[in-house]
Symmetry: D2
Subunit: 370 residues, 4 copies
């Protein structure tokens, strides 16, 4: 303790184990990842917290990084931006969390003080935003340093389930904010969700908070569509034959849908959305796009539609937490596979073959599956 | 009167002049228009009103029709969807207007009863929408038949000025609803308006209802920009050199604008909007587009922006009327030229050479300029 | 038909039975009601429709009238403002409904044309509002005249159930608009509903459209509370001992509730609402009040609360219809008793003794219970 | 400096003058105030800043304190919650402000981290809210300690005027948030403001951001009404004869106003508001109330009104700052008197006799009036 105090003058230290290293999932350039020894993180700024990870998970974005699509991620970076853990150490500027607190880690880091944070746009925080497992080391490790901890952690509820709660790190607020809130889903609405991957399913689960009358789920994969059916989709549309939009228009008697939610990120799926949106409707983009799309303003200019984009702000995490605790939402439904954290390399193998493996969210449990 | 009652069992007839013909501006295919004799309109449905036009004006859309861009307009159609006049006759289903009432004619016809009208989307009325001077005969004539009169007329205020009020037929609600309301202009905002033609200027005038801090006006024509300056633009940007977007970004220190309003209708001007919109900002499309645009979702997906389209609903006309009456808005500023209705052919010549003539709105006055 | 055309020049007549009288529930001053012979209604205005009633129901307001609380109701008035029926005749100004259409009658009559209707405030329609069974004859009869039919009727869905749909005449839109929408119920909210009578239960059912985390139901009657439990209340509070507010504060750890909904109409229940509303919360008044209340502005001025009042506008009936059709809401749950219309005197007896009889909504079926 | 560093390990100290005392306006129980020597404040928490005051002002609330109305204020308290100054010292947790920064002090202290702050309700911050010059020492002094500095200060703009900017500490956000925003003032609205004191005038100035058609100003004092006229009120009503409500109803032809704003805080003025609010209108309470009011729910239950209360959150200060900088608002209009800070006792005398002195805001300038 004495040593820690000397070394870490800006933190209130906890009883740390004497080891100074840890295991972590490290990116070493395109297609190269390793579960290897790394130094344990330390407090660098008064707002930091060190969290010991108990549960984490893998995101589709982690696969994008591994393909080399995000050049900002450099060799040696620890991946992961989702997780549950226990606070081990806090900087002197941290006031809302204490050593020993069990916490949900938000994928977005928020200083709360900048103009964007004050407007609720944590995604564009001038001192944070999405940085975890991207420009700083992430959560697929035994320990992680969380900057701006007061804006980036949430108290884990006493009655919580780690598998369920880790869905609050990213996928549920992403589906809810970018898809459902931006799409302004209302009671009685007809909603089309294009893409039944994990994030599309998160949209599906959270859209039901607002009691839409019909939810059309559109995907190429019948297995995923079958899951969507169990999760509350009212109509399944396999888009393999290229006439998904036509089917939607037929089902809506030519009117189109009130809300079309893009949860894939390619021109073809965006195109379905702009074709099926009703006059007065909303297109909410959730997918991460790598290319421009052709927007048919010559057809849409007089259709009174809105189109939104959004990087998740995680401002609704407290609301989602309340809904999960009330039992109205079971996010653990999204978990298809469980691995011990030490088996993370196998977990990645599974997630990389999601279609074949029927994988949705793959959860990594410290100490292995329970 | 007796005869009229027999002939027009669905209307309460007024004392009509005995003539059964009138003069009207008639479309005869691309580039062909004539000011010629036509039969006077008669009540066809219980909801109709016949209005004697006292003031009308020409819209950019009328020029589009004359170019042959709107094939739904057929040979023999009387043009015009804007006007002030006096009610001469009403159908038995008309309850809000009476013979002798002076009225503002809305460019959009609204039954008020269909699902779209009930949602305030008169533009998509199942029995109306934009039909005047498009699929039915319009207002550039001595008389016009207004279907769904109760939803398509507004009482002319006792203290009103016809030149000012005729701007409420189309251009002011268009600029306000499609640009300002959809763009959610707020006090303190920075707004860019691309296009300083009449509709862009209508956006400029009505944007000031919400006290934005800065309004950048972007156009190729310095004369129009000079008008914009007089109308309240805080910064003028001539886009002729192709670096308007760059200038906006420099002026905003790289942040971009809160609201970018497209008031032209071509890919190049849309592109300025998507380049200059700030994270968290809104793009409001007002322009009529004939081609698709390339939407840079690969840059915008994580920028938390919204993009809206809209055909004017004219639901805000009562609000605009109150603001005009209060003196906070002088729409007659938009009038650059005045002609007697009989000189409408010359008025079209002038409006067709708007740049050269410095024409904004060209007003047609029954009995000539006063 | 010929005769009808002569007699009813403003209507398109259907084949009417030759009888010119009907049975109706008639108010004859305080505490006096009779099921007696009355002349059948006839078209009076072009916007009228004559509807043959197939199902109706009794409202708490009907009991108020019978107590003499609403002096605007005069001797001889046919009561009732809820019902399902079939259109028998329409005026020439009616465009959306036709003879033979099965319809839901809205308790509020809307011209759709006045300033209030255009703003969606049908309750204050200058030519309608609540008039049915109040200032004009109502629906507890074999036939009823519906003025402004295009704004006051809704198409009965092909797959609809009359018992369920009659709840859309008044009680569901009342609970939803005045309670849930005005209270801005959001996912995760804690809601207190004071009053578990039919309208309070309608609030309870429709509040669940927005997935609140907790709904406290407060009433004096354990039987009603037991019903509330079945309908989705998460916590029941019997207010008989006068410490309901205290219990709510304890359950919320002193914070109070996000939304407090008053569904009774007396000072004591309003007082519970103002005591339990959290800082930043909303009080939505649904109850009909006969006396002023004491508003504790000395405690509330700095609590950032809102308080709303509303007479139902029925603007959400189309939305509610969609939700009912989707199966997310079973309004027939609200029906506790069924009577043949001929037994309406007994139905009133039952409804007047609601507590003893366990009565919620008492439905009157033409031809008797099925 | 060495000493300071030892004593203040949580701060980055600036070069302080060697004196350890300062002058301050101190409350010594009802009706007792003194401009006396006090110890200079020091950093107590990592989030603190010490600000040297250059301009401050007196609020009506300070007079309430001096009357003994706020018993939470204890003997020895330095008053004042408004001010402009220069940062002299910051705690280690302060990241947005630095020694030497010129700042606007917000009357509300916001931690930004608690649930209320995250919802934008700084007024109810769990670690702040209104505490300055209330439960901790305030700004009517040479120096002040500002806790939670990152949430409670704003950068003073380079081109700013101190007299104008000090109105952003309290009075402008109070008028704007509690009156204008809560009252949802819209273009074309008719607004009644009851009370033409400084806060009512702040409502008047900021209401004009939204271009209402008419603003009725109601007060007992013709001098204040004359000021209101200059500030943009369209109609003045002296309420001395007790028939202000009657006049408003007459002026609005019986309709009442869209927005009624209470800016006094007594039952009689609240009563005017509830009498004149139109169906569908809003009552926004700004006044600080000491007693309950009688709310006429028996008249209002079916009028579709809303009533709001609010303690200023100061969340709109950045927006207001933009509007002030744009020149659309001249808050220095509110300044009627200027005193040197050393003459604060005289300044209080003047402000205490506001009616006689024609005092609005009384500004205290370090070094005296310029």
């Amino acid at each position: 303790m004495t040593t820690a105090e000397i070394e870490l003058p800006t933190s209130r230290a906890a009883t740390l184990s004497t080891s100074t290293t840890m295991k972590a999932l490290v990116y070493h350039g395109p297609d190269k990842r390793a579960w290897e020894e790394k130094p344990r993180p330390a407090i660098q700024d008064p707002g930091d917290a060190i969290v010991r990870i108990t549960t984490s998970t893998i995101c589709g974005t982690d696969l994008h990084i591994l393909k080399g699509d995000l050049p900002a991620v450099t060799d040696g970076r620890i991946l992961g931006h989702e997780g549950i853990g226990v606070v081990e150490q806090v900087g002197t500027g941290v006031s809302e969390f204490h050593v020993g607190d069990k916490v949900i880690i938000s994928c977005v880091t928020a200083c709360l003080k900048c103009d964007f944070c004050k407007r609720g746009m944590y995604s564009h925080c001038r001192h944070g935003g999405w940085i975890l497992g991207y420009t700083i080391d992430g959560t697929q490790a035994e320990y992680v340093r969380i900057p701006q901890a007061d804006g980036s952690l949430h108290n884990f509820p006493a009655d919580g389930d780690e598998e369920a709660m880790v869905m609050l790190s990213d996928i549920l607020p992403t589906g809810f904010e970018c898809g459902v809130l931006n799409g302004q889903v209302k009671p009685g609405d007809t909603v089309a969700i294009v893409g039944a991957g994990p994030v599309g399913l998160a949209v599906l689960l959270t859209a039901q908070f607002y009691s839409p009358a019909a939810i059309f789920m559109i995907d190429l994969d019948d297995k995923r569509l079958a899951v969507a059916k169990k999760f509350g989709a009212t109509t399944l549309i396999n888009s393999a034959d290229g006439n998904a939009a036509e089917q939607v228009m037929k089902l809506t008697e030519g009117a189109g849908v009130d809300v079309a939610i893009e949860a894939v990120g390619i021109p073809a799926t965006f195109d379905i959305c702009q074709t099926v949106v009703a006059a007065g409707g909303r297109i909410a983009n959730v997918g991460v796009h790598g290319k421009p799309v052709e927007l048919h303003l010559e057809k849409l200019w007089d259709r009174n539609i809105s189109l939104t984009t959004r990087l998740v702000d995680t401002v609704t995490t407290p609301m989602l937490l309340k809904v999960v605790r009330s039992g109205k939402l079971q996010p653990s439904k999204l978990v298809s596979h469980r691995f011990a954290t030490d088996d993370i390399m196998k977990a990645y193998d599974t997630f990389e073959n999601a279609a074949k493996e029927g994988a949705l969210k793959v959860v990594l449990l410290n100490g292995g599956p329970r």
